[in-house]
Amino acid sequence: MRFPATLAAPLNVIPVAAIERATSILFRRVMKEHPHLFVRLGEHVGKRFAFMPTDIPLVFVVSPAQPSICVARRTPAPPDADACVEGPIVMLLALLEGRCDADALFFSRDLTVSGDMEAMLAMRNALDDCDIDLPRDLSALAGPLAPIVSRVAESIRQRALTGEVGRWN
């Protein structure tokens, strides 16, 4: 499933600083739930990892050593990162949760990787072992509305994955 263009379009005008602030809150929440997320990176923990959705005009660069996440508008120039992975946002999120197999997505050409392959492989394995569940992990940010937010997020994920990742898993 590609992210609908009509929903992606506003991301061209919303200030990047605002998007980065929101993304950082979500990132910190995931790190709080999974403090050992980057242990498997070992010697690669100091590197920078770019996640480049092909269907939204943004690039997310994760620096595990801090840990922090930066957001930038997508440009033709390669991002300032040691390793990059490109693919539809749904698949990148599914990879983050270990709900699809990165090798299978590579074989099917849905995913493109470049840069430091050793570092990217370590990141793939770190994510795969971490049992991240975004609806569960992020819903706590909604306070008393957490159960509702979690259910809605799970429903969205279910629909997105049934169309795409469901082909493999």
Binding site: G98, D103, A104, F107, S108, T112, S114, E118, D128, D129
Partner: protein, 325 residues
């Protein structure tokens, strides 16, 4: 018939157990096993927890120590064997005769399996390992036909395990030097085939170009299914025609031959893929588990969708049927 399943991380291990594996095989986070990839494998503590989890579910844990000891550094492998035994591994999967001798001498009660990396492919070789090191099971190299296996089985004094699904090596297991030739590192000595540190991908017009060290391995046209960047799966110009010199980028699938393998004397079926994600492990293990109890006519439909998970999105019966060109 046992189903032996791969796990590269504790999460994948739990998925394999939950999906119904009879045994899960895994390795330590070092060069003592043939899947020594960045971020993969188990610490001692992780293996301890995994063995407990498996035990609670009636699943066995096999520990792969299936690389060849480096002269002068044998202690790394001896320590790994000692730790695996102490943690309660149900079997050690070994390739190096020296390590087999060490385990047989120091841990005579420990169950020992002969790794595919040992390339034990005939009656004399297998019975030698049984007599010398009390090997209880041999994982046969993927060089034999089902008829070959049937001829070997009644003459050997141990169980037979064969690979039925997953990545397929060029047929020189334990002896392949292609990765070493291109990168200086091999699965046999370092636990890495085509180490990621030597792999590069780049786009060239519409093509995806994969490179290993100084070698271009393949150029995939837009939309063409891709494969691993290994020399054995490389597409090279041969007499001015591009083609796969060693083997095509495909995966093994002989689950359609379960009955023939059973009749041939096989007692365990192995899935390759410790380097794969937990989603792959869960899907393949649960599907193959269903296939084992399904009627033969129902198996193709069950197994068909696994092709999409495979290298090159294609599968082959490989040497089991020897139908290649």
């Amino acid at each position: 018939m046992e189903l032996i399943c791969p796990a590269g991380t504790p999460a994948a291990f739990r998925e394999a157990v939950d999906a119904g594996a009879d045994a899960v095989y895994c390795g330590f986070r070092d060069e003592t096993n043939a899947r020594n990839f960045p971020g993969l494998n188990f610490t001692r503590d992780e293996l301890r927890e995994a063995i407990v989890y498996a035990g609670r579910n009636g699943t066995q844990t096999f520990v792969a120590l299936n690389t060849f000891m480096r002269a002068g550094d044998e202690e790394i492998w001896y320590r790994a064997a000692a730790d695996a035994v102490a943690l309660g591994a149900d079997a050690l999967i070994l390739a190096d005769f020296g390590l087999m001798a060490h385990v047989a001498e120091h841990y005579p009660d420990q169950r020992l399996h002969v790794s595919v990396q040992a390339s034990a492919s005939n009656v004399d070789a297998i019975n030698f390992l049984v007599d010398a090191f009390n090997a209880k099971r041999v994982v046969l190299p993927r060089t034999l036909t089902i008829a070959d296996i049937a001829r070997i089985a009644p003459k050997i004094r141990c169980e037979i395990e064969v690979f039925v699904f997953g990545g397929l090596c060029v047929m020189a297991e334990g002896r392949c030097s292609l990765s070493s030739y291109a990168t200086g590192k091999s699965p046999n000595m370092n636990g890495v085939c085509s180490p990621a540190s030597h792999v590069r991908y780049r786009k060239e017009a519409d093509e995806l170009v994969s490179e290993l060290g100084a070698y271009t391995i393949n150029r995939f046209a837009a939309g063409e299914a891709a494969g691993y960047p290994t020399l054995c799966k490389g597409r090279f110009d041969i007499a001015d025609e591009p083609g796969y010199a060693f083997e095509d980028p495909v995966s093994l699938d002989v689950m359609g031959e379960i009955d023939a393998l059973t009749a041939a004397g096989v007692s365990a079926l192995k899935i390759e893929g410790r380097q794969r994600g937990k989603a792959y492990v869960a899907e393949v293990v649960s599907t193959l588990k269903k296939a084992l109890s399904a009627k033969p006519d129902d198996r193709p439909a069950l197994l068909a969708h696994l092709r999409g998970l495979s290298e090159g999105q294609k599968t082959t019966s490989g040497a089991y049927e020897k139908r290649w060109r």
